[in-house]
């Protein structure tokens, strides 16, 4: 029963991937490539590339992609639902607890430890995207010769615009994309 297998497989991915982003990749690979053999390693690499190129969490993108390939639209829907069901159950329970006990000193203590941690974690994720954008590798793989001047310019412009005028971040991301198209593409045209 392919539908049930898809649902169950992505249910496990959703349950065991804290952070849902790139940290979920080994778990997804294990389920899709190794356990079930639904995709070859090459096809799996394609999934990651496409997940990076399209909006949305990587696990959900992978679920939709694998589901579509194996069992069409119903497969995609079931795999995606499997992926978010654990989140729904756990997060709604936490949300209920939070709404009830948020004034309790124990809860306030735990949250006061988590708030600065979240800022640190977001900063870490930001730095790894920055590294990927500036020299196409991880933080440790810094190479002066690989530095991408155009990316640095786009980053600087976007950051200044955000700080000065506080526009909608979506407009800034789209603007950065168009600027990239113009700056990277122009030399090829001229």
């Amino acid at each position: 029963m392919i539908y049930l297998e898809l649902f169950w497989s992505f249910f496990q991915i959703g349950l065991f991937s804290i952070d849902g982003g790139y940290a979920a990749l080994p778990m997804i690979r294990q389920q899709i490539v190794e356990t079930h053999g639904w995709l070859s390693m090459t096809a799996f690499t394609d999934v990651i590339t496409i997940a990076e190129m399209t909006p949305g969490p990587i696990a959900i993108n992978a679920a939709t992609f694998v589901g579509t390939q194996l069992a069409g639209l119903p497969g995609a829907v079931l795999a995606t639902l499997g992926c978010v069901t654990p989140s729904c159950i756990i997060v709604i329970s936490l949300a209920w607890l939070y709404s009830r006990y948020r004034e309790l000193w124990v809860v306030r203590g735990v949250l006061s430890g988590l708030r600065p941690a979240v800022v640190g974690l977001i900063a870490a994720a930001g730095i790894s995207i920055l590294a990927l954008s500036f020299w196409g590798g991880t933080l440790w793989e810094f190479a002066f010769s690989e530095l991408d001047g155009i990316a640095i310019v786009i980053f600087a412009v976007a950051f200044l615009v955000l700080q000065k005028w506080k526009p909608n971040p979506i407009c800034v991301m789209l603007g950065a994309g168009l600027l990239g198209l113009a700056l990277y593409g122009l030399p090829g045209i001229i």
Binding site: F16, D19, G20, G21, A23, A24, A51, E52, M53, P55, G56, P57, I60, T64, F65, T68, Q69, L73, A76, V77, V84, C88, V91, A95, Y98, S99, W105, G109, V110, L111, G113, L114, R115, P116, A117, V118, V119, G120, L121, I122, A123, A124, A125, G126, I129, S133, A151, F155, L162, Q163, P169, V172, M173, G175, A176, G177, L179, G180, Y184, G185
Partner: protein, 192 residues
């Protein structure tokens, strides 16, 4: 806040629209949600948004999905949570279904690739901007511990590649110990 049809429609389309733009991992959802729900609609205050993000971060599953569930539940209970989940998973579902029909062509398209290369730098700027704003809030508390926790998790995660779940657990423990110490101090102060 009136919970009529217009409110639910606004909630659904907000999450749908934000989800359609969460490029580069789930973290971009943080600045996008802040802009929409805190600054634009004033449905949630700044401090509570931070709590919700902290809970989303500490739960299994994708950050963007978790954050949407929390916002939906906070604003309109269980129906709100189901509505925002639907709004969040529909855009990737639609986009990937379309792309998977012709993914070879999509992956090799030059225009798409250059656009995405530019957007990557833009995403980094959006995240940098929200980190600067949030870090300022932490520093303004004028306490050493939160600043150390922030710097510590950043270094552990960025340089040492420490597991996110482990970071979250450690920091929750630090926060709890801090709260216990503070309570003890307060009690001693009352005795005197």
């Amino acid at each position: 806040m009136k919970k009529d049809f217009r409110f639910y429609a606004k909630l659904f389309f907000s999450t749908f629209y934000l989800s359609a733009f969460t490029f580069g991992g789930g973290y971009v959802i943080v600045p996008l949600m802040r802009k929409r729900f805190v600054e634009q609609y004033h449905w949630i205050d700044e401090q509570e948004m931070l709590d919700l993000i902290a809970i989303a971060q500490s739960s299994p599953g994708a950050m963007a999905v978790n954050a949407s569930i929390l916002v939906g539940y906070r604003l309109a209970g269980l129906p709100g949570a189901l509505l925002t989940v639907a709004g969040t998973i529909l855009p990737p579902l639609i986009i990937i279904s379309l792309v998977s029909l012709a993914y070879q062509a999509f992956r090799e398209n030059t225009v798409v690739n250059l656009l995405l290369k530019g957007m990557q730098a833009g995403v980094a700027a959006v995240i940098a901007n929200v980190v600067v704003g949030m870090a300022r809030g932490i520093v303004r508390q004028k306490r050493i511990l939160p600043v150390c926790v922030m710097a510590g998790t950043f270094l552990a995660s960025a340089l040492l590649g420490m597991n996110v779940a482990l970071c979250v657990l450690l920091c929750a423990a630090v926060g709890l110990c801090d709260a216990v110490m503070q309570r003890r101090h307060e009690k001693e102060a009352q005795k005197r």
